[in-house]
Amino acid sequence: MRAYRVSMVLAGVCVIAFGLHGLVNDPQIAEPADILVWALSAVVVHDGLWLPLACLGGALLARSTAPRFVLIAAASVTAVALPAVLREDADHGNPTLLPLSYQHHLLLLLGACAAVAGAAWTVERLRRRRSARGEDEVSSRRRPSRRSR
């Protein structure tokens, strides 16, 4: 285990050094500091803004499996589709780039997610109510027998 860990760490440090050296010395990259700023911004936005929102949303809306399932799917598709949605109307001089109705597609998919979440929520509620009623019946049947004892 120790040899494995030491060699992985050493290899990792070497490869990181190779990558950073390339970033700093590539003749095409005029300002490596720009990349640092963008990388730090990515972390700040993701860990400081998105993840607190995701945790909050999860705690409020996704307490059981079905809504959590749908929220994860919706967030994933939105993240992947967002650049296409934002750039759909931009004039990029190439009509074959982003030719689809991405905004409509995303709305459609999110609508489908909401419908699935709604259906799952309803089914879960009905099932809970039915099982609650079932327990009532069981307990009401038991009660007289307890009394007779």
Partner: protein
Amino acid sequence: MNTEFFRRGPFREGAFPSRLHEPRSAVVLGRWLGSALVVCLATGLISHALQEGSGPLPSRPVNGYRVTQGLHVISGLAMIPLLGAKLWTVYPRLFEWPPVRGVLHALERLGVALLVAALLLEVFTGLLNTVQWYPWPFPFRETHYWLAWTAAGGLLLHLGAKAPTIAEHWRRRGPEVPGRRGFLTAVAASVGLVTLTTAGQTVPWLGRFNLFGARSPDFGPQGLPVNRTAEQAGTVEIPEDWRLTVKGPDQVRLTLADLEAMPQYTARLPIACVEGWSFSAEWTGVRLRDLLDLVGLPEDAAVKITSLERRGYFRTSEMAASYARDPLTLLALKVNGEPLAPDHGYPARIIAPNRPGVLQTKWVKTLEAL
């Protein structure tokens, strides 16, 4: 001084109530994310080598680049839900108390910060490149390449540092945490959904589910999208006296009629773009090797191809002899039975098997030995 005074907000004990912030979920998600990263890195390096013209450059399999670059973007997009889920799972670790427990612990945390930063920016720049959107001040290709190495190194370091935890939770121990299976299934299903709604830009039988792919074969002249239009390249109008110049020990200048009079061949070859989309078409034209033989270029000569384009990184391309001599490599004059549309490179373009789209030079003006 009492450091507990600073232990507030997310640093509090029990600030994250979900039971799913636990190591087994992190290990399972880490395996998936790591696998996607390995596929993405390997296919990315193949693409880099092909574009740089370094290493072995086989012209087969015909669909090689189509598959590797398609996988590059598919695995890269798959990393978006995987990275999101992984980082959510380990989020409380960002606020662990005390924040630093010594030099090694500090270095490990620094390594994680580097890995996360490099991966986030890598995935972000890759995603935006698929829609040709470059809001940042640095060049995409070089940055994406070097960041990939940085992230790969960060992953090795992370695997070394976390080895005991990974080994401990490689298999499930004890009872299943409630909700874990559902959570992992949801993440896997999200990867499936993302793939299903984007991979149609490269996998033909997924075309009908292509909701978010940046290209579609239904849009584009002659049923084929393009990366750069004739208008963007300034090649809408072709000079009346256009001739193809082939330079070798001898030199010829051929009109379009001359080219059409030579033996014509048809090959079904893909246009496979670095941005992850690809579509196949029937290309008809002259074999490149016939043209090279015409001027007596040796079998092992690499070829430089120059376009009518006035500017742009891919105005010229270099082609190794392995491609230039492949019987499937054409100077195409037609696509799907029609003369090339201006956007596809009228009057003549290069099309070769297993080759990145940006190197399939359009509006060809000159062929010469490198």
